[in-house]
Subunit: 190 residues, 4 copies
């Protein structure tokens, strides 16, 4: 089974998700500077979610570049990842509109955590299809960065009820951690 | 005529359909747990429709993998399928907002039934183009699963006016039935 | 210059256009049969526009299948066509909501007419790039069907101010005329 | 690393952006000519933004046609460009609704300026990956047109607070300047 359509479909879904978020940026009520102020938290949340989806697209690109064989289970593991990513515009909008509120901050982190878990499942499913001797299995190794991200998101969720800045700081930190494409895979493949 | 653009166009349409449904998840009115409660039926309907569209994408992927020749009739049979699938976000939204109501439950099933019929027509059109000796014709055989799904959907529609749980149970059952990629085609092609 | 990205981009735009129209199908105000009645004209207009865009996608597919060379002018002639097609969701919504009104019926036809003109320009631009001896030039010939469609749309526009049923009948007639893929091109290419 | 998915993803994002803008064209409040009048500025802004995004897609197509190697930095420079382009529907809507207002005119130009800067960064990043002897490096040369566009946008922003027609004239001028595909690259590649 070829990976071409899986890549094209994932590209399509992520391209749409990263784009429709901008539909949530409501047009300011007027043409004055004041009208822009309530948009600031919405805009910052938009930037964070854009970077988050960009990271997933980049990592997806890198990982499938190394993949040689897929099967039906990989298709579903990929759709499972896309499901959690598809909730990003929803939580982005909610967090942007209720900025500083605890619950939306926690739910935002929850979607990130479940996306991260779906990513780990996808990685495991592909390695199971390709075998432990595959390039990908060697490149990913123990996948410490993936596990660390999931743990950080899991920690950020309860912190949302203490101080939302801590959670948002953690989200930004994980984003920075991933901004550079995975050197393990790059090293292995170059 | 090559199947590449037909696949790309179908991927695009299904990717958009699976994604724009999330635009319907209205942002909760506040930041409290209570604000999330009215979203529960909407969310569950979203999950069911996401799985439903995911199944169609997966099966489309599997079927066209086996296809070698297409013609103008196949293009239109495919567009006919996409037409019914394009109504999924609409009925998802309606069912999510009027949960437990009979008519939306029935209409939801009607769109699933007509998508299933369109799928059967597409299969037949492709087999007619490829000939009865084609890999696809052999792989699909009598297509019992496709017929069973259509019959189950047809049964679910009147049940919506008796008890909407029965209909929704049937929709979930058919989804589970298809979650595993078609072993007949997989066996034939592997 | 390769035609791959032009096809992919056009597929993307048409896939999005054909899909976002369904966002305009407002959820009925209730769960009763009565709530569905105001949707009937909107739904019929949706079907007509879906078929209209489907025809353009099919013809685009057929035409570019025969194309071997493109240049910068073809890129812009194609974008010009996509521009007029991009207005289809807008006029569909307007016509659906103001059914039986003269002006929206005329504007709907106007967008169809300008899309048809853009199609003729695109055909001419490609033939200019490929040369009069190209397969496409021979296949299209005098392009009587394209010209007839444009003339019919042009006639339908003033009729909208007389009786909107005449205009809508013409729109449906042109759709039927194109539903079968262009036999001239098919004959030439098969 | 192959450029195929980067092109497909960019095509997807730009196709969505160019299409969802039409969702902002609100349906007129009635079916009379008067109802169309408030749409005129919105429509003109839509045309300008459509051309603007069309130019970026065309230039993206031309540039990546000449590209042979990409790396992780190019992926991010490309996402950075897509980020600024993703704000185009938002500023289009705002400018269309507040026509003649200074601040939206300036912000519209600001998004164009930052897109232009992101384009220059993307060009530099690709040349850094390909080396100064690459076809692209030679074709782009000093990139006077790119720099001139950025300077014109930068000039248009303060003019918005003097007379918005000057700024809009500059936006239209830059659009015209780019409508013809870059002859330097075309000459080099043909």
């Amino acid at each position: 089974m070829s990976k071409g359509r899986l890549e094209a479909f994932s590209d399509g879904v992520i391209a749409i998700l990263i784009t429709i978020m901008v539909l949530e940026l409501r047009v300011p009520a007027g043409a004055a500077w004041d009208a822009l102020r309530p948009l600031v938290p919405v805009f910052l949340t938009y930037v964070l979610s854009f970077v988050f989806l960009g990271i997933y697209w980049n990592n997806h690109h890198h990982m499938f570049h190394a993949v040689q064989r897929i099967n039906g289970k990989v298709l579903w593991a990929n759709l499972h990842l896309l499901f959690w990513l598809s909730l990003v515009p929803f939580v982005t909008r909610w967090l942007g509109e209720t900025y500083t509120a605890a619950l939306p901050t926690a739910v935002y982190g929850g979607v990130f955590l479940l996306s991260g878990v779906a990513w780990l499942i996808l990685t495991r499913t592909i390695i199971a299809a390709e075998g432990p001797e595959s390039r990908l299995a060697k490149a990913v190794g123990k996948d410490r960065k993936g596990l660390a991200s999931a743990l950080l998101y899991a920690a950020a969720i309860p912190f949302a009820f203490v101080n939302h800045w801590i959670s948002e700081g953690i989200y930004a930190l994980v984003a920075l951690m991933w901004l550079v494409p995975d050197p393990r895979i790059e090293r292995e493949l170059s």
